[in-house]
């Protein structure tokens, strides 16, 4: 496909988890959790979209819905023009070769009863990509590609360190030669020293294999160097979306501004006020009326309109979208 074309497009994605019923399945069902509430974005081929937000804002649900590991309630997802949400089981299985996922927890994402070899050979068998001695060759080259000694093929996950496991997880995702990868907080669970190595590996793989990434993270610092565009999520909705340069340089949404103020600045003489967000994230089962961010918003102009009228996600500068009534007057 032509570079710059939209490889992944998501429109109006919605996923509400049903509230569990109280006691013995009787009684009123609790309110549904609005994990994802109308999320839209597109990712150009070969680029990275960073999807950032606090824990529980629905990032993983977005990523898993795109891959149909979760069935979303509404919305459209296309991968290279294919309607992902309309596919039957057989076509979906075929499409899984083109989109893969790397998980956050390097301990939970590998089957403890399977060797590294078995883990990496399984996708090859499912998609009939290799057989016989070819499997061994492919496993070996995958391990080398993610920077592991091929001798690790015989190891079980518990014999590996967190960073090594995460490399195996990446190798598994690459085994089917996908175009698109959802990286669901791939470094959050790793030691700081290992984080940079894995990030570098991901950047290098993207360059070599021309991969397209949806990079999920819970703070803006992690995606700063890898993302071309960034979308900031709050309570199931995107509150700001822009190119990385615009978003880091001139954030328009007060939530983005507060997240950025928490990012350490390399130059200590640079003046930046640190904004500490008040209060906890409200429950996605009962989002506040009006602007969902209003109970915690530090914007000086915040007024009654914020409490009643939900702000639409609108273009506030060329290529920059924000969902705030006062986006034209950033903090």
């Amino acid at each position: 496909m032509t570079p710059g074309a939209r490889l992944v497009q998501v429109d109006g994605l919605v996923k509400h988890f049903p509230g569990a019923r109280a006691l013995l399945g009787l009684g009123r069902a609790r309110r549904p959790v609005r994990a994802v509430d109308g999320v839209s974005f597109a990712i150009e081929s070969g680029q990275t979209l960073g999807l950032v937000g606090e824990s529980g804002c629905g990032k993983s649900t977005v990523g898993r819905s795109i891959l149909r590991l979760i069935e979303p309630d509404a919305g459209r997802v296309t991968l290279d023009g294919v309607e992902v949400l309309a596919l039957g089981p057989r076509e979906l299985r075929a499409l899984r070769r083109r989109m893969q996922i790397v998980f956050q927890d390097p301990y939970g994402s590998l089957n403890p009863r399977m060797t590294v070899y078995q883990t990496l050979a399984e996708p090859l068998a499912i998609h009939r990509l290799a057989a016989g001695p070819e499997v061994e060759r492919r496993v070996r080259s995958l391990l080398e590609e993610v920077g592991l000694d091929p001798a690790f093929a015989r190891a079980y996950p518990h014999e590996l360190s967190g960073g090594q496991r995460q490399r195996v997880g990446i190798a598994r995702a690459l085994s089917v030669e996908p175009q698109f990868l959802v990286l669901d907080e791939p470094v959050s669970a790793l030691d700081v020293s290992v984080q940079a190595q894995v990030l570098n590996l991901l950047a290098e793989l993207q360059r070599k294999r021309r991969l397209t990434y949806l990079f999920i993270a819970h703070d803006l610092a992690v995606v700063k160097h890898i993302a071309d565009h960034v979308a900031v999520m709050y309570l199931g909705k995107i509150v700001e979306r822009a190119s990385a340069a615009a978003l880091y340089g001139a954030p328009r949404h007060p939530y983005t501004t507060s997240l950025l103020s928490a990012v350490p600045v390399p130059d200590p003489t640079a003046q930046r006020q640190r904004i500490v967000l008040q209060g906890d994230v409200p429950s996605p089962a009962a989002p506040p009326p009006g602007c969902p961010f209003h109970p915690r918003c530090p914007h000086p102009k915040k007024n009654d309109r914020c409490r009643t009228e939900p702000p639409a996600l609108r273009e506030v500068a060329p290529g920059q979208l924000a969902a705030c009534h006062f986006a034209e007057e950033p903090m």
């Binding site: 299985r93 070769r97 939970g108 590998l110 518990h158 997880g169």
Partner: protein, 308 residues
């Protein structure tokens, strides 16, 4: 008993000791194995089980008489243990030791086969009910609720009462098919938590269908509760078979099972206690050994105790 029989018995003890020794050596080499060995009764349990399994497999070598052979119906009724018949004879003048040895085949065999039936059914139903969360799972689990509420002994007695000369195979199948409900609950609970694990999501993302996910990813990780309930299940089935046989409804005479031996000897408990006592001890020993080994396995296989 001839010198050859004594030799065979010594051989059986030696084999059991070797098995227990080897099991101990292997267990000590791994963290899970050491959790097994922390149970002081686990290794003796292995020894007892190995001993009785050896008896069962090598029964023709170890039994001086045919288990149904009536040695001397006039002079050797309910004869006390002697050099000739180390565990005595029963009212039909049959050698109790020989019957005990052949009875191990039947009692352990029934226990093992019925347990295999029960565990297969329980693991299958539990896996499906846990993995397929729609109405299929709900219906299966309501069925299991009914099964658990059902008095098992009563159902078996009914079957025996309604079907005269119930073939042993059918009885074993019935015992198995009435014994999987608790296992299926255990397995379902395990599957419910396993299906949320990320490696299951990863397998689905790789294109694995439900069958592959259940058999390659979910069940192997649910092996611990399955193995433990299998070990404990054999003991239960043996007790159940003994109960049925004791009521005269289980293994038909003259086939020796430990339960039917107790039944045969029961009227003479006062004068010839050895006829019931020895098979009773055998049942008690094997059931206790199975419980000890099952408890040890529970700890050894508990993934929460796994050190990363």
């Amino acid at each position: 008993m001839s010198a050859l029989t004594w030799l065979a018995l010594a051989g059986a003890v030696a084999v059991a000791l070797l098995v227990a020794e080897e099991a101990h050596r292997r267990a000590a080499a791994s963290a899970a194995g050491r959790r097994f060995l922390r149970h002081p009764t686990a290794t003796p349990g292995v020894f007892i089980l190995a001993f009785f399994v050896t008896l069962a497999t090598a029964a023709p070598l170890l039994a001086p008489y045919d288990p149904a052979f009536q040695i001397d119906i006039v002079h050797l009724q309910n004869h006390a243990p002697s050099a000739q018949n180390i565990l005595g004879t029963d009212v039909y003048s049959r050698d109790v030791w020989s019957r005990l040895v052949y009875g191990a085949r039947i009692s352990l065999g029934i226990g093992t086969i019925a347990m295999l039936v029960a565990v297969t059914a329980g693991a299958g139903v539990g896996a499906v009910a846990g993995y397929v969360r729609r109405w299929v799972g709900a219906v299966l689990m309501r069925g299991v609720d009914v099964g658990l509420a059902m008095p098992r002994m009563f159902v078996l007695l009914m079957a025996v009462a309604l079907w005269e000369h119930l073939p042993l195979a059918v009885l074993v199948l019935l015992i198995g098919l009435t014994g999987w409900f608790a296992t299926s609950r255990l397995v379902r609970a395990e599957v419910l938590s396993l299906r949320e694990r990320e490696f299951v999501a990863a397998a689905r993302a790789a294109g694995a269908g439900p069958t592959r996910v259940i058999f390659r990813h979910v069940l192997p990780n649910a092996a611990a509760p399955i193995i433990v309930s299998a070990a404990l299940g054999i003991g239960n089935v043996m007790l159940l078979e003994a109960g049925l046989s004791y009521l005269g409804l289980g293994v038909p005479s003259p086939l020796p099972s430990w339960g039917s031996m107790i039944y045969d000897g029961e009227p003479f408990m006062a004068g010839a206690p050895w006829t019931s006592l020895f098979p009773g001890c055998a049942i008690a020993l094997v059931v206790m050994a199975l419980n000890a080994v099952g408890d040890g396995l529970r700890d050894a296989l508990d993934p929460r105790k796994e050190t990363a």
